[in-house]
Point group: C2
Chain length 331, copies 2
Amino acid sequence: MVTIRDVARFAGVSVATVSRVINNKGYVNSDTRIRVVQAINQLKYRPNDVARSLFKGKSKMIALFVPDIMNPFFPELARAVEDVCNVHHYTFVLCNTDNSIEKELTYLNALQQKSVDGIIIVSSTLKKEHIEEVTVPIIALDRTFGVELSTVKVNNREGAREATEYLKLLGCQCIAHISGPKNASNTEERKQGYLDVVKNDDWFSCNYIVSGNYNLQVAKGVITKLLERHPEIDGLFVANDVMGVGAIKAAEELGINVPNNLSIIGFDGISLGETTSPTLTTIAQPIYKMGSRAAEMLIELIINNDSQKKTEEFSVQLVERQSTRPRGREE
Amino acid sequence: MVTIRDVARFAGVSVATVSRVINNKGYVNSDTRIRVVQAINQLKYRPNDVARSLFKGKSKMIALFVPDIMNPFFPELARAVEDVCNVHHYTFVLCNTDNSIEKELTYLNALQQKSVDGIIIVSSTLKKEHIEEVTVPIIALDRTFGVELSTVKVNNREGAREATEYLKLLGCQCIAHISGPKNASNTEERKQGYLDVVKNDDWFSCNYIVSGNYNLQVAKGVITKLLERHPEIDGLFVANDVMGVGAIKAAEELGINVPNNLSIIGFDGISLGETTSPTLTTIAQPIYKMGSRAAEMLIELIINNDSQKKTEEFSVQLVERQSTRPRGREE
DNA sequence: TTGAAAGCGCTAACAA
DNA sequence: TTGTTAGCGCTTTCAA
C-alpha cells in the first residue's frame, strides 16, 4: 500500500505538505504542488480513509434502518438515500431490522463503534431510552417513534381522509378499513383519517376495521374473512399498497368484481400497484423525495450539528387507477 | 468517548492488558480479568472499530454492487447478503451501479480507500483491466463479466431449455423469446437455451427473438409490436419475470387471452409474478440461497485468501402458475 | 502474567 | 511556504 510517506519521500517534501495538497488546505508553493501531484499520480497514491476517520472521529458513512428491504416500499427509499450519499461522498450502509428491537440496538452499537456519521431510521419499536445514549445524528423517516427527532413523513391522516372521501364520492355506502400493525405511528394516523370521515355515519361499526399488519398474505386472509362476513362492504381503504394487492387477490378469489362491486384504494404509490389487474388506485407518497430529503437533512445535521428538531411533512396525491369506479356505473 | 486508556487507568492495569481481555487473547490473570471487565462495564467502554481497522488494514465491511435495488430481483439478494454479514459481524454496504462503468469504478476506488474487506458484484460492464488493480477479494454474482472470478449463478442455459421445452410440451407451435440486454452474460445463456430447443424447428425464425432489456416498460412495448406482427405466436419465453409481467400486460391490452391463446413463462421466480392476473409461470432461481452463498464464499475468501477460483452453479425450478396452459384446453 | 512502546496512515498545531 | 511532531485508539512485539 502506498502511503503519504511514500509520496512525501518521492516528491522530496514532508508529509504535511502532501497532506496540504491532497486536502487543498494551507499554503503550498505551486511548484511544490506540481511535484506532489506528479508523485501522487506516479505512485497511484490513494489516501487511506480509515486513518482519516480515526483522526476526525467521522467515517463518511450513513446508515439506513428499514424493517425489510424485500418489502417493496423500501427499495425506492434506499435508492434515494444512496443517491444523496453518493453526491456527498458518503458510503451507504443498509440495515434490515425486521422490526426487532434487539437487531436495532445491535446495529446502533455496531455503527457507533464504526464512527458512522448519521442514521436514518424507519422504526416502530425504538423508544426514547434506546436513543438517549446515541450520540450520532438521527433522522426518523416514514414514521415516528417515541422520541423527538427531526422527521420526514407524509400527512397520513389527511391522505387517509382523502382516500376515504374519494370512496364516498364514488358512492360507496359501506367502507371498511384494513389497517397496519398497532405499533407503527402511521397505522394510527391513517386509521384516524378514515375515522374522521366515517365515524358519524349510520352504517359505521368498528367491525369494519381490521388489521392486516402491512403484509400481503395476512391482509389477504383477513380481507377474505371480512368480505365473506360483510357482503355489504362496497369500498375498501387499505392502509398500504402491499395489502391493497392482497385485497385485489382476495376479491378475485371470492369472485367479487373489482371495481364494479367493490372499490379498493391503497396507500403508498409503489409500482407494484400498477402490475395487478385491475391496477390499484392509491394515495401516492413522494417516496423518492422523502428518502432524498431525509438524507439531505441528515447531512446538514452532521455538518452543523444543529440541535433543533424539525418535521417535514410531504403531501400525498390521489392516483386513480382501475380498482375504483363510481357505484352503479358498471362497464 | 471512553477509550482503552480510560479503562486501563480505571482498572489499574496497562492498555495491553485491557486489549488482551477484550480480544480474549494472551495470558491474563483471572483476578485482573475481572477487574478489567468491571471497568469496561462501569465505563460502558466500546472499542473503536476505526482504530482497529487502521491497525489491521481491514474494516469488517462487505459491499454489494447491484444495478438498481429498485429492480425487484435484487432486494432478496441484498437481504441474503446482509443476513450473512450480520452473522459474521460484517457491515453491509449497498451500491447501485446503474450498469454504469463510471459508477462501478468510483465505488471500487472509494471502497478500497475504506479498506472494505470484500465485494460481491452483479455486473455486465466491468472488464478485466478494471479489476486487475483491485486487491480485495471479489465474488461475481448472478452473471459473469470478462474476468475470472469465483462465481455464484444458476445454470441459465438449462433453465431456458426447460422453459422452452415446457412450452412445447403444452403444445405451443410457435414460441418467441424476449431476451435481456446484450452485454449481460445470462442474456446470452438464456437465449442459447431457447435456441437449443427451437432452432431446428420448421417454424423458427430469428424474428421471434427480440430484446426487452430486462425492463418492464421496454418489454411491454416490444412485445406489443411482436404480437401484433406475429399473431401466430402462441408461446412466449421471457428472459426475466419483470419482462414477463410486461408480457402479461401487453397481452391484456391487445385482448389476447393468457393462457388460453398465449402461454407465457418467465425466469427468476420473484414474488412480483404472483401478484399479476394471471400469475406468472416461471423458472425460479434460488435467489436467497445464491445471495447467502455468495456472501459465505466471500467471507471464506477474506479469511483464507484462497486464490483458487470456483464457480457454484445452482439449479432452477419450474414453477407452474396461471400464465401457461396446454393448447386447445381452454377452460 | 504484565507493561512499555512502536506503529497502523493521517491531520493539524506549532515552529522555523 | 515548509517541516517536525504529537496524537487519533488500537494491537502486538518484546522485555521484564
